[in-house]
Amino acid sequence: MKGRGLGRQGVPAAGSSGRFDPRVRQMMLSKGLKRKREEEEEEKESLAVDAWWLDPGHPAVAQAPPAVASSSLFDLSVLKLHHSLRQSEPDLRHLVLVVNTLRRIQASMAPTAALPPVPSPPAAPGVADNLLASSDAALSASMASLLEDLSHIEGLSQAPQPLADEGPPGRPTGGASPGLGALDLLGPATGCLLDDGFEGLFEDIDTSMYDSELWAPASEGLKPGPEDGPGKEEAPELDEAELDYLMDVLVGTQALERPPGPGR
C-alpha cells in the first residue's frame, strides 16, 4: 500500500477507473467532490426522496453523501469486490465487508426495494440502468456461485465424519485441509461479473488502438496518434495510461479463465 494522502477525497485511486460508462467515468475522474453551495442545496432536496433505510425524516439523510457519490462509491465497491475475488485466496473478512457495504449502497440507490438476493433493476438516478442492473445481478450471481463453489470444494476434500459415539467432547477435525478459492473455480465465477454485461459495457469505448491489425505490418508504420473515439472526447482527462490499465484489467480477467500457473 503506497503512502497516499487524502488530497483527492472520494475520488477513486488512479488505476481504479474500471467502469466504462463515460458519464460515470467522468464523475470518477473529476477532481474531488467539491461543488458550489447552491448545487449542494439542490442535491439535498432531491435526497429527501432517496433516503436510506426508507426513512426520509432520518437525521442522517441531511448529511448523507449525495446520490452521485453513491454511484461512484458503488462502482468503487464493485471494483474492490472484483479485485478481492481475483485473489487466489480471498481475504474473507475484506470480501464480506465489501459485499455488505455494496448491499447498503444498493439499498440506498433502490428506495423501493428491500434488497432481495437477486434484485430487480432499480430506478437509480444518474446512472445507466443497464449498467446497474446487469452488474447487480451479475454481482449477486457470481458471489453466490463463487461461495457455493468454495463450500463444495471443502466438502469434497473434508475427512470422513467422525463416529457418533465419540468419547471426547467437541468434534475432532480431520487431517485433510479443505481449501478456499481454487483459481479454476474463481475463473468462471468472476468471468460472470463481466460476461453478463460485457457487450453493453464496452459499446462506447473505441478499442481500435488495440486491434492487432494496427500493429502487425511494419510497413504501414505505427499509428501513434490516438483515433479520437467517443471515449476520448467525452473524458478529456482520460489519458493513455488509464486506457492501458483498463485493457490490462480485461486481459487479466480473460486470463483467469485459462488454467492458472502456481503462485498467488
Binding site: M1, K2, G3, R4, G5, L6, R8, Q9, G10, P12, A13, S16, W52, H58, P59, A60, P65, A69, L73, L76, K80, S88, E89, D91, L92, R93, V96, L97, N100, T101, R104, S108, M143, A144, L147, E148, L150, S151, I153, E154, P168, P169, G170, R171, P172, T173, G174, G175, S177, G179, L180, G181, A182, L183, D184, P260, G261, P262, G263, R264
Partner: protein, 484 residues
C-alpha cells in the same frame, strides 16, 4: 519514584501536570530486526548475544520480509518476541541490570533468531501459503527453556528456545574435532566432562499443528490450564492439546450451510486469563461473544453477547466496516474486555452486554475521511490494542507512526510518535497533536499531512513495568517511563 504501576497495587496516575504522559516517556532503543541478508553473516558469530544495539541500528537496508507483523512480551517481560512477514521470529532479551550501568535498564538485545515458517505451496489448490507470522504467544515458563507458539495463516508451531552454555569434552571414540578415532589407538577410557562454552541459544520446533484451518488464522490464545490452546480463523475456532498434533476439537463454527448467506467473520479470539472454560471472540460486525465450554461441546451458542447499538447520527455506508473489531483483549484481572475497531477503543464490563463502559476516540478526525480511506483500503487496517500491567492504561496505534495511550482513571490521553527523527536514545517523547481544522499551531500536524503508509498496528506492554514495544514497519521501538 518507583514504577508507575505495580501488578497488584493501586495504579499511580500517568502524569503529573500537563496531560497524560507528557514529558514522561523516553526512547530506550530502536531495534532493527536483522535483515535476511545479514542473518547469514550473523550466524557465523556463534554468540548472537554479542550483537549489540549499535550493530542493529546501523542497518539502513530493509526488505519487505522484515516488516514486523506481531510483538509480544513473555510473562515476566524478560523476553520480547517479534514475528515478521518473512516468517522469522526474533527474540530480544532484557539487558541485565548492573550497578555500573544503571542507565542501560530496559534495553533489549537480540537473544535468538530463527525461521519459524517457510512459504508453502499447496499443489492441490495451486495456492501459495504466506509465511508471515500472524501471532506469537508465549507459554508460561515451567523450566529453564522458553516455549512459544507462532502461527501463519494455516499452521501453528510450538517452539522451544533453550540455552546451552556447556559442552561435553573428552569423548573416547571421537577426537576434539569430532572425527572418529581408530579404535586400535584407544588404550584408556575416560569419562567425558562438561566444560563451559560460549552461550548458545537454540530454537527447536517441538510441535507442528497443521491442516486444521480452511481459512486464515487470525488468533491464537493459550489457556490458563497451560495444557490447551485455541486457534481461530475467519469462520472456525479449534481447541488443541499441546501434546496432540494430529487432532483438534472444533469449538466454534459460524460457517453457514449456504455460503451465500455469509455476512460475518470471526476477527479475534482469546481465552479468559483465569477461567479455563471461558473465551471470547469478536466479529466483523462489531460484536463480541463470550462462550463457556462447559455449556456444550460446540460453542456456537454464546453465553453472553456484547454489542453496542448503532449511533444513528453517525450512520454511513461505512458503519459496518468501521465497527469491525480488529482486536479483543481481556484485562489482566479478567473483569473487562477491550476491543479495537477502526476509530475507537472500547472497554466492556463482562457483566454488561448492552454497551461498553468506556469508549476512547483514537483518531476521530478520520471520520470525515472514511470515503478516501475506503478507496485506498486503509479502512481495512487491523490495529491491535494492549493493557498495561495494572489495567489502568490502554494503548493502541494509529497512522503517521503515532500511537495513543489512554489513562482510564484520569481520563487523560496522549499521542506519541515512533519515528527515526526523534530517536536519539533517552530522548524524551514529545506529545503530538493533530490539527483538525482552523488554525494549525506550530507543533501540530494537519490531518491531510498524515502519512497513511506509516501505521502502528502492533504494540506490546511489559507485564509489570512501564516499558512498551512499538513496531513501525521494520523498526522496533522500546520506550520506558522516565524515572526521576
Amino acid at each position: 519514584l518507583g514504577p508507575w504501576c505495580s501488578p497488584t497495587g493501586s495504579p499511580a496516575p500517568l502524569s503529573c501536570e500537563t496531560g497524560c504522559g507528557e514529558g514522561s516517556w523516553i526512547l530506550v532503543c530502536r531495534l532493527l530486526v536483522p535483515t535476511q541478508v545479514s542473518l547469514l553473516s550473523m550466524e557465523e558469530d556463534i554468540d548472537t548475544r554479542k550483537i549489540n544495539n549499535s550493530f542493529l541500528r546501523d542497518h539502513s537496508y530493509a526488505t519487505e520480509a522484515d516488516i514486523i507483523s506481531t510483538v509480544e512480551f513473555n510473562h515476566t517481560g524478560e523476553l520480547l518476541a517479534t514475528g515478521d512477514k518473512g516468517g522469522r521470529v526474533v527474540i530480544f532479551q532484557r539487558e541485565q541490570e548492573s550497578k555500573n550501568q544503571v542507565h542501560r535498564r530496559g534495553e533489549y538485545n537480540v537473544y535468538s533468531t530463527f525461521q519459524s515458517h517457510e512459504p508453502e505451496f499447496d499443489y492441490l489448490k495451486s495456492l501459495e501459503i504466506e509465511e508471515k507470522i500472524n501471532k506469537i504467544r508465549w507459554l508460561p515458563q515451567q523450566n529453564a527453556a522458553y516455549f512459544l507458539l507462532s502461527t501463519n495463516d494455516k499452521t501453528v508451531k510450538l517452539w522451544k528456545v533453550s540455552e546451552r552454555d556447556k559442552r561435553p569434552e573428552g569423548y573416547n571414540l571421537k577426537d576434539e574435532e569430532g572425527r572418529l578415532r581408530d579404535p586400535a589407538t584407544i588404550t584408556t577410557l575416560r569419562v567425558p566432562v562438561l566444560r563451559p562454552m560460549d552461550l548458545m541459544v537454540e530454537a527447536t520446533p517441538r510441535r507442528v499443528f497443521a491442516n486444521a484451518h480452511t481459512y486464515h488464522i487470525n488468533s491464537i490464545s493459550v489457556n490458563s490450564d497451560y495444557e490447551t490452546y485455541m486457534s481461530a480463523d475467519d469462520l472456525r475456532i479449534n481447541l488443541w492439546n499441546f501434546e496432540i498434533t494430529n487432532q483438534s476439537f472444533n469449538i466454534v463454527d459460524i460457517k453457514p450451510a449456504n455460503m451465500e448467506e455469509l455476512t460475518e467473520v470471526i476477527t479475534a479470539a482469546e481465552f479468559h486469563p483465569h477461567h479455563c472454560n471461558t473465551f471470547v471472540y469478536s466479529s466483523s460486525k462489531g460484536t463480541i461473544r463470550l462462550c463457556d465450554m462447559r455449556a456444550s461441546a460446540l460453542c456456537d451458542r454464546h453465553t453472553k453477547f456484547f454489542e453496542e447499538p448503532e449511533d444513528p447520527s453517525n450512520r454511513s455506508f461505512f458503519s459496518e466496516i468501521i465497527s469491525s473489531i480488529s482486536d479483543v483483549k481481556f484485562s489482566h484481572s479478567g473483569r473487562y474486555i477491550m476491543t479495537r475497531d477502526y476509530l475507537t477503543v472500547k472497554v466492556w464490563d463482562l457483566n454488561m452486554e448492552n454497551r461498553p463502559i468506556e469508549t476512547y476516540q483514537v483518531h476521530d478526525y478520520l471520520r470525515s475521511k472514511l470515503c478516501s480511506l475506503y478507496e485506498n483500503d486503509c479502512i481495512f487496517d487491523k490495529f491491535e490494542c494492549v493493557w498495561n500491567g495494572s489495567d489502568s492504561v490502554i494503548m493502541t496505534g494509529s497512522y503517521n507512526n503515532f500511537f495513543r495511550m489512554f489513562d482510564r482513571n484520569t481520563k487523560r490521553d496522549v499521542t506519541l510518535e515512533a519515528s527515526r527523527e526523534n530517536s536519539k536514545p533517552r530522548a524524551i517523547l514529545k506529545p503530538r497533536k493533530v490539527c483538525v481544522g482552523g488554525k494549525r499551531r506550530k507543533d501540530e500536524i494537519s490531518v491531510d499531512s498524515l502519512d497513511f503508509s506509516k501505521k502502528i498496528l502492533h504494540t506490546a506492554w511489559h507485564p509489570s513495568e512501564n516499558i512498551i514495544a512499538v513496531a513501525a514497519t521494520n523498526n522496533l521501538y522500546i520506550f520506558q517511563d522516565k524515572v526521576n
